[in-house]
């Protein structure tokens, strides 16, 4: 990869011997801090994570407690987001819904990456026929509209949070594979890889030590993108009734019920959970865009 020159100009730092990776990490930190998108994204995402983790503490009501006389009430001091059809506090339910979204946002890229990255590495490193076949396979899955694939997989696996995460993970494997392969292909030609090969290092070692680290930035960007997409896909599936099963307050399932009340005036049932989705997804998207800028040496950091 390129040398990250210090755009600050000369500082009074004495030259210290640092590994290429450490130097790159510091340069990364600097560029990150200067990128508004990245910082903004990080803040929003961190906020989302915090709210999700602290939901049990922050929620004014137990999201499962029903109170039928209080059902379908609009936003008020007691219930800032109103109440649902059983009288449950929607603000608390939306907070708890963040926990589901967080689980999906973290687990899906992990699942997709766990399978996709190795595939990409193999395809990029080995090349040739293997590369061709693997990427064709990935393309076939990738060509499927995510929601169609997700729907069919969940319909088959059955509805549970685990199954859904696995299904979503499968949907996003091709992206990780392609992105990894793309980076791997360019690294494979580089000096240090060829040197390692000539020294007789095993393929596994080369891949893990020399190739993989240089794919990490692309993988990281892909992970944030996937996190955003996964949240949207899971809430879409729940909205359609094929997602996280009933008592669990997924934002999508709340919206599903809320839609039935659009005609009769209970607008809060549809507006607030949706806004939560937008905020969470926006955070990841901003972060992803920012990271992409920061990690791509060709682009102007002050876009």
């Amino acid at each position: 990869m390129t040398d990250a020159t210090d755009a600050d100009g000369a500082t009074a730092e004495p030259a210290r011997p640092q590994s290429p990776l450490a130097r790159r990490a510091r340069a990364f930190g600097r560029r990150f801090r200067r990128n508004r998108l990245a910082v903004g994204g990080l803040l929003v995402t961190a906020g989302f994570v915090l709210l999700a983790v602290l939901a049990p503490v922050l929620a004014p009501y137990d999201p499962a407690v029903v109170d039928v006389p209080a059902r379908l009430q609009g936003p008020s001091l007691a219930h800032p987001f109103g109440t649902d059809r059983y009288g449950r506090d929607l603000f608390s339910r939306v907070l708890y819904g963040a926990r589901i979204a967080l689980q999906v946002a973290v687990a899906t890229p992990l699942v997709a990456g766990a399978v996709g990255v190795p595939i990409g590495l193999v395809a990029g490193y080995v090349g040739g026929r293997v590369d061709d076949v693997l990427m064709r396979l990935m393309d076939s899955i990738f060509a499927f509209p995510a929601i169609l694939l997700g729907l069919t997989l969940v319909a088959v696996f059955g509805q549970s949070l685990t199954n859904i995460v696995v299904a979503l993970g499968i949907v996003y494997i091709p992206q990780f594979a392609r992105v990894t392969r793309g980076s791997a292909v360019s690294v494979v030609e580089e000096e240090h890889v060829r040197v390692a090969r000539s020294l007789g290092a095993s393929h596994a070692r080369i891949v893990l030590v020399h190739v993989l680290p240089f794919c990490l930035s692309a993988i990281l960007v892909q992970a944030t993108v996937t996190a955003a997409l996964a949240i949207v896909l899971e809430s879409s599936l729940s909205f359609l009734g094929v997602g996280v099963p009933s008592p669990t307050p997924s934002w999508g399932s709340i919206l599903r019920v809320g839609k039935g009340y659009v005609d009769s005036g209970e607008w809060w049932y549809s507006v607030f959970p949706g806004m939560a989705i937008v905020v969470a997804v926006l955070g990841f998207n901003l972060l992803g865009d920012g990271l992409r800028d920061v990690l791509d040496p060709r682009t102007d950091p002050n876009r």
């Binding site: 039928v68 059902r71 009734g241 099963p245 009933s246 008592p247 039935g260 009340y261 005609d263």
Partner: protein, 545 residues
């Protein structure tokens, strides 16, 4: 019970139609529901009457009624089709031997009947004025009745339904005699249901003759089948030679499937259709408030219950069941599930029904403390246990029952959770006994035998698995056997009264609510006579311009 007749008075069909104003009194008629698990799950009203307003002008003839149905039409062969919506169409085109008025059998194709002294022979006198539609165009005779029943029973297709019938014979040009294997009180209920309609042999043969081929039904009903574009609409036109005057009032009925609930309501409010079925409680208020639409409501078409497998621990312990019965807050469930269009119920029959038994103070009402008491007395059988209640998201009544019940059990110190299944899976579990308890609902049935026998008796399907080890099991089996063989109504009332007392005592199931059937109408539609059978009777309706 409203209406001027005593239950055994056999009014003619025609008088029933003439009294269009009687629509206002339709509130409490009993009727029979469909046997499939896939019933229409429309909730119902609390106190307000049905669409009762009759305009000063009185009935007008002419006009086309456009109706939106809640599911697709699936095949129209009367002896083969299995969906409520198809049955509804058939019910207007073909006729049964009898119908129901105020819960008792009334005449349709049969004008009179006699039950033999042995209680096993039923002789029906048929009307001589019934004519089949074109192209058949002739009078209906007893031979047609025999043909229809034999066709229906081809290859044992009707299975256990017709097992009770030993033979059907034409004992005169307009007389048919059924001989039953043994006395079977619920027999009349079969005769009023759709598969038991009379069709002409030549029309069936002309369309192929096999079961399922008769897709353009020809019958004796007030409407004849005009055309059907699959996935689009089905058209019925008035049968001019129908034997009653001024029946039907409408010129035609156009039926379009609109499976999506929101679309149905939107279509009605927008004026694209004149009537829709399957309206939910939350939409009902919107329709009532909109000046261009109104609501028609039939009380108690669905009976919601917590269905229990009494052989599956910990539900096999009667104390557990009794405790749950007291932990349940039925009115909250009714409010949340059907927006008040229903009522809390401890049995499927409403107070006005002859089958209603007064449980008095022994009724297990909402009393969480009593629930805890019962469990304590029984040695805390639920210690460390979590009860699972199966449900689905397709039917609001079932879904809400389960969710609220779990919360209510929690409030009574009982740990519980829902298990949400896909409807097909839940049905399979129901049939296979693969459950401890599930929120369930069944369409209302006129005859109590049809509700209870199948749930409890070991020679029936015994869906509740109420085994011999359960309290008073033998007594309950005995009561059910007597209930179906005894033909005297008053005797039967006593038998089932005792049965309900035992049900209340031991809780083989826990009754939750009676939900109402709701239909939406444009304000210029009149003459709707909702009843407990799920078939809409188009021949009493008219539209005002």
């Amino acid at each position: 019970m409203q209406g001027e007749d005593a239950p055994t008075n056999r009014r003619t069909f025609l008088t029933a139609v003439g009294g269009a104003a009687a629509a206002a009194l339709a509130g409490c008629t009993d009727g029979e529901g469909t046997p499939t698990g896939d019933g229409t799950s429309s909730p119902g009203p609390s106190d307000t009457p049905t669409d009762a307003s009759t305009p000063a002008g009185g009935p007008q003839s002419g006009g086309t009624l456009r109706v939106g149905f809640e599911s697709e039409l699936t095949g129209l062969d009367p002896h083969r089709t299995e969906s409520v919506v198809s049955w509804l169409v058939v019910f207007n085109v073909c006729e049964t031997l009898i119908t129901f008025e105020d819960g008792a059998p009334a005449s349709r194709l049969a004008t009179d009947w006699e039950i033999g002294d042995d209680g096993r022979t039923y002789t029906f006198t048929l009307t001589e004025d019934a004519r089949f539609h074109a192209p058949v165009d002739r009078a209906m005779t007893a031979d047609d009745v025999v043909y229809s029943f034999e066709r229906m029973n081809q290859d044992g297709a009707m299975g256990s339904d017709l097992a009770a019938v030993d033979s059907v014979e034409a004992t005169g040009e307009y007389e048919v005699t059924f001989t039953l294997v043994e006395t079977f009180a619920p027999f009349f209920n079969f005769l009023g249901r759709v598969p038991w309609v009379v069709v002409p042999e030549e029309a069936v043969e002309a369309q192929g003759g096999g079961l399922g081929d008769f897709q353009e039904p020809v019958g004796t009903g007030p409407f004849q089948f005009d055309e059907y574009e699959p996935g689009e609409k089905l058209t019925l036109t008035a049968f001019d030679d129908y034997r009653a005057d001024d029946v039907p009032l409408l010129d035609a009925v156009e039926i379009t499937p609109i499976p999506d609930a929101d679309s149905r309501v939107a279509a009605l409010r927008g004026g694209d259709v004149d009537m829709v079925r399957g309206v939910s409680g939350s939409d009902a208020d919107t329709l009532r408030e909109d000046p261009e639409t109104k609501l028609s409501r039939q009380r108690g078409t669905q009976w919601g219950q917590l269905h229990i497998n009494c052989s599956e621990p910990p539900w096999d312990d009667p104390a557990v069941r009794r405790a749950v019965a007291h932990a349940m807050d039925r009115s909250a469930i009714v409010e949340a599930a059907v927006s008040g269009y229903g009522q809390a119920a401890w049995q499927p029959y409403a107070e006005e029904s002859v089958w209603h038994s007064d449980l008095g103070d022994s009724r297990r009402t909402h009393d969480p403390e009593r629930a805890r008491e019962i469990l304590d007395d029984a040695g805390n059988p639920l210690e460390g246990e979590t009860l699972t209640i199966k449900t689905n998201t397709r039917y609001g009544l079932m879904e809400t029952t389960a969710e609220l019940l779990v919360a209510q059990l929690g409030a009574a110190g009982i740990d519980a959770e829902t298990e949400v299944l896909e409807w097909g899976t839940q049905l399979s579990d129901f049939v296979g006994g693969n459950f401890g308890a599930m929120a369930f609902s069944v369409p209302f049935k006129i005859d109590p035998d049809r509700h209870y026998y199948g749930f409890v008796h070991p020679e029936g399907t015994q869906f509740n698995y109420y085994g011999e080890d359960q309290p008073d099991a033998q007594r309950m089996y005995e009561l059910l056997e007597r209930g179906r063989s005894e033909t005297d109504q008053d005797e039967r009332v006593e038998i089932y009264g005792e049965f309900e007392q035992l049900v209340n005592e031991h809780c083989p199931w826990i009754s939750v609510a009676r939900a109402d059937g709701l239909a939406g109408l444009r304000s210029n539609v009149y003459g709707v006579q909702p009843w407990l059978l799920p078939y809409t009777r188009f021949w009493t309706m008219w539209t005002e311009d």
